[in-house]
Symmetry: C2
Subunit: 275 residues, 2 copies
């Protein structure tokens, strides 16, 4: 049976690209209009797994997605890093000078604005999604309008790439997580990364104490993010990712942290995708 | 002479509200269409100070704004916390049932979507800014269209509030920073908070060691955020906010951290706005 994978956005989006690259085998992609509806689809069992962007080397963490994972008791069972390449595309047979407007997601426009300085006649227009515009240009055969989207989008929606890789910062890497409603089936030997959440009082040195335990247990911190707890002033929650060589070390740290921190929670245990 | 304060967005935006509340005296507000242009206006001396949203209790840090402060050598000279209240507004003399569409910033729509579940006939449409839509409704006298914006926007653009405070989460607090190109003129006795940036090797325990120093010097951590350094794999930069009672303690910590961490930098020293 095909694995049903829910993605945020439509086919041709970066989430779709991750789905294709992470699952080499045959999958059925389920397009979701928002991260909320992606989670709904997992909870109602309409999809087996979901793919969510979780942080970006330029924009940082996507905190609302951490909250979705946390609040709906989802399990992170894997991760994937995608280098974001933006391509400028339009219906075939047109020259750059014929393009009057380029529509794309605000973030994509921002990342490509240097490129468009060379073409002041092109108006930048914000749209909701990168692939969506590519699909619309194809569906309605819109001339004089360009999109900024992935190569997959150009292929799917039969657009010509006028300029490839037009992003200003070349090292724009986005980290995606693979989530499901049940725990990972990985063996302990295969696990070398975990995503943790815990809360601490606003007491001097409380975080240092926790990090000392992690360091003593040979855990490497690859990410830390504090967040004030909305309902409880002066309490902070932390999202922390750690890598380790030996599951036993991690297991020991877990036992200590469960005692030391409030609401200690494992959001997922999986294989580190970064070599 | 009036202080020229650059804000992101137009009058009636949340940035405008902060400008009014932070500076009780007479100021001249300078509307900027983006955070980039706000920074430009400071660098060209067209504005004396700027106000930038920097983090939100729901969405987390606005990393690109940290980068702007860092890259352009701006100084944080103050902070302000604003409780975000969203109000549903339209041209006067209309009933909720007459409203067919509500336009607002995606984040505002998201925070009010529970409210609109009761009115399934109203279509939610994304726009670039909250106040912008209010201004447009007023300017073009658009009927049947509502905006989600601040009370200031309703007042400025003469709209009636159909429903006040329609946000789902009531404790939606956004932190703003006040920035300028020169250092703060505060006396040491008045300073009890600082925003720091530093870089660390991806070596086990390196962050714990730094936090131990901070804790030993009686600094309280109010915020921590790691960010991979794009150009240098396995190096991390950290944005950290600390509070303290005694400037001497902080000064001591600074001297140690300058030696321990790479590229240690003070982004600003100011008065803690949270009691």
């Amino acid at each position: 049976m095909q694995t049903k994978v829910a993605i945020q956005g439509i086919k041709g989006s970066f989430h779709h690209q991750v789905a294709e690259e992470y699952f080499n085998n045959d999958i059925a992609v389920s397009e979701c209009l928002s991260f909320d509806s992606l989670v709904d689809r997992l909870l109602t069992r309409e999809a087996d797994m979901g793919i969510m962007a979780i942080e970006n080397s330029i924009a940082g963490s996507i905190i609302p997605n951490y909250a979705l994972v946390d609040n709906h008791e989802l399990h992170i069972i894997g991760e994937y890093y995608l280098q974001i390449h933006h391509n400028f595309m339009a219906l075939g047979g047109q020259d750059v000078n014929e393009i009057e407007e380029v529509h794309s997601h605000p973030m994509a426009l921002l990342q490509c604005k240097e490129f468009f300085r060379k073409y002041p006649h092109i108006k930048l227009v914000e749209s909701v999604d990168t692939a969506e515009t590519a699909k619309k240009i194809h569906g309605e055969q819109l001339k004089n309008i360009g999109a900024i989207a992935s190569k997959t989008a150009a292929r799917l929606y039969e657009l010509d790439i006028l300029a490839p890789e037009i992003q200003t910062i070349n090292n724009n890497s986005t980290r995606f997580i693979i989530v499901q409603t049940s725990n990972s089936v990985l063996k302990k030997e295969e696990i070398n990364k975990a995503s943790l959440k815990f809360e601490l009082d606003h007491k001097r040195g409380s975080l240092a104490t926790v990090l000392n335990v992690m360091s003593d247990c040979k855990l490497n911190l690859t990410k830390i993010q504090s967040l004030p707890i909305i309902e409880t002033p002066w309490m902070y929650s932390f999202f922390v990712d750690v890598t380790f060589n030996d599951y036993e070390d991690y297991d020991k740290a877990k036992s200590i942290l469960e005692i030391m921190a409030h609401d200690f929670k494992v959001l997922g245990e999986y294989k580190n995708a970064k070599i």
